[in-house]
């Protein structure tokens, strides 16, 4: 077979031309690009670098001061109530001083009511959350605004996070929570059996520009704001009052501050 140099060059040129047609063709044939749906936060959404809470424990004298806050939280979030202690689900609850600050602070010779006053406890939304590192499925993670969030869809119920949390802030649904919910809030989902849950600093309310339910129900006894904004309410309170946090020796950097 005798192929001339001329023929080879012709074929090469033709091939190059053929290869360059699809882009040209596509560009000519393309329709006007269809408008794409847009996704974004709501206009009123609140943002922060690290959400934090300051609890003025001096203003909580008895269980009656605490109850409305807990009820507000638990009713909004469809938290079931079980009489059986081992099934208990808690987002926000109260405990004694000696339990809340075990090993960190002492009530010895302190004000007398320190031992009787209720201390509100909840997920501390740690700056360095150990639960996030323990979760094998990334069902819990730290959001950019500092909230330690739960994705209930992704939770496999292994409870590593519960073992990792030094504050006992997480609860496990040992049974279907629905029968334990007396009044269902139709705007918020429930959970299912086999899922861990906890306080989320009301991320769903912050997205609508509202404050967390407990802060709203507290009428000034709780403050909420950005920890890294020097002008925020929480920073003002922390600056002007002596505050303590739970188990700081563990280095999780809780974002819930207590004025004692």
């Amino acid at each position: 077979m005798d192929t001339s140099r001329r023929r080879v060059l012709q074929l090469l040129g033709l091939s190059a031309a053929a290869l360059s047609t699809p882009p040209v063709f596509n560009a000519l044939a393309a329709e006007a690009p269809a408008a794409k749906p847009k996704i974004g936060p709501g206009k009123e959404a609140r943002t922060a670098q690290q959400w934090a809470m300051v609890i003025d424990t001096r203003k909580f004298k008895s269980e009656a001061d605490v109850r409305p806050l807990v009820d507000a939280c638990h009713s909004i979030h469809n938290v079931p109530h079980w009489d059986e202690k081992r099934w208990e689900i808690k987002w926000l609850w109260s405990t004694k001083y000696e339990n809340a600050f075990a090993g960190t602070a002492s009530a010895r010779f302190g004000p007398e009511d320190l031992e009787t006053r209720p201390f509100l406890v909840l997920c501390n939304q740690c700056e360095n959350p150990p639960c996030v590192r323990a979760c094998p499925t990334k069902a819990t993670w730290k959001r950019e605004d500092g909230i330690v969030m739960m994705d209930f869809h992704r939770c496999i119920g292994c409870r590593f996070c519960m073992a990792a949390c030094p504050f006992g802030a997480r609860s496990f649904n040992y049974r279907d929570p629905r029968p334990g919910i007396t009044q269902t809030n139709k705007l918020f989902p429930t959970r299912m059996k086999g899922v861990v849950e906890k306080c989320s600093f009301c991320a769903e309310r912050l997205a609508e520009g509202k404050l967390p339910a407990c802060v709203e129900a507290a009428g000034g006894k709780l403050a909420f704001g950005d920890l890294f904004d020097p002008a925020s309410d929480v920073r003002k309170l922390i600056r002007e009052n002596y505050t303590i946090r739970r188990k700081i020796n563990l280095g999780t950097e809780p974002a819930v501050y207590y004025i004692v």
Binding site: A35, P37, G40, P41, T184, P189, M192
Partner: protein, 129 residues
């Protein structure tokens, strides 16, 4: 070929058994379900995206919504026509389609699909118990 009759008989029996479900169920095919629209859904005319797309791909839309709301914290969806929606199954989808039994379940049952959305998400936000 002295077994010819035996083989043919065997083949006929085999074919009858294999084809039995086809002729037994002939003409009895369950008609595809017809979903009922609520008045609100009818009035809105179009869903979040076009009807055909929603019919075939609503699960992709829901998956995208779940991902962006839960993991990214973005809750507002603006469709190509510029209409805004709060991305929520219970509060947006079921606000229009408040007849879950006649809308969601009908097709899901027909197609033998069992989505576990309702283990947690509440079926009808507008209905007060």
């Amino acid at each position: 070929m002295k077994d010819k009759n035996l083989i043919v008989t065997g083949l006929v029996i085999f074919l009858v058994i294999v084809l039995f479900p086809f002729w037994y169920n002939r003409g009895k095919a369950v008609p595809p379900p017809e979903v009922k629209l609520t008045d609100k859904a009818k009035a809105a005319k179009e869903c979040v995206l076009s009807l055909d797309y929603m019919r075939a791909e609503h699960m992709q839309v829901l998956d995208l919504w779940r991902e962006t709301v839960v993991r990214e914290g973005n809750r507002i969806y603006t469709n190509p026509k510029g209409k805004e929606f709060v991305m929520s199954l219970s509060n947006t989808c079921l606000d229009c389609h408040s007849n879950k039994a006649d809308f969601c379940d009908k097709c899901h049952n027909y197609a033998s699909v069992r989505p576990y959305c309702w283990d947690c998400h509440i079926e009808n936000p507008k209905e007060t118990k």
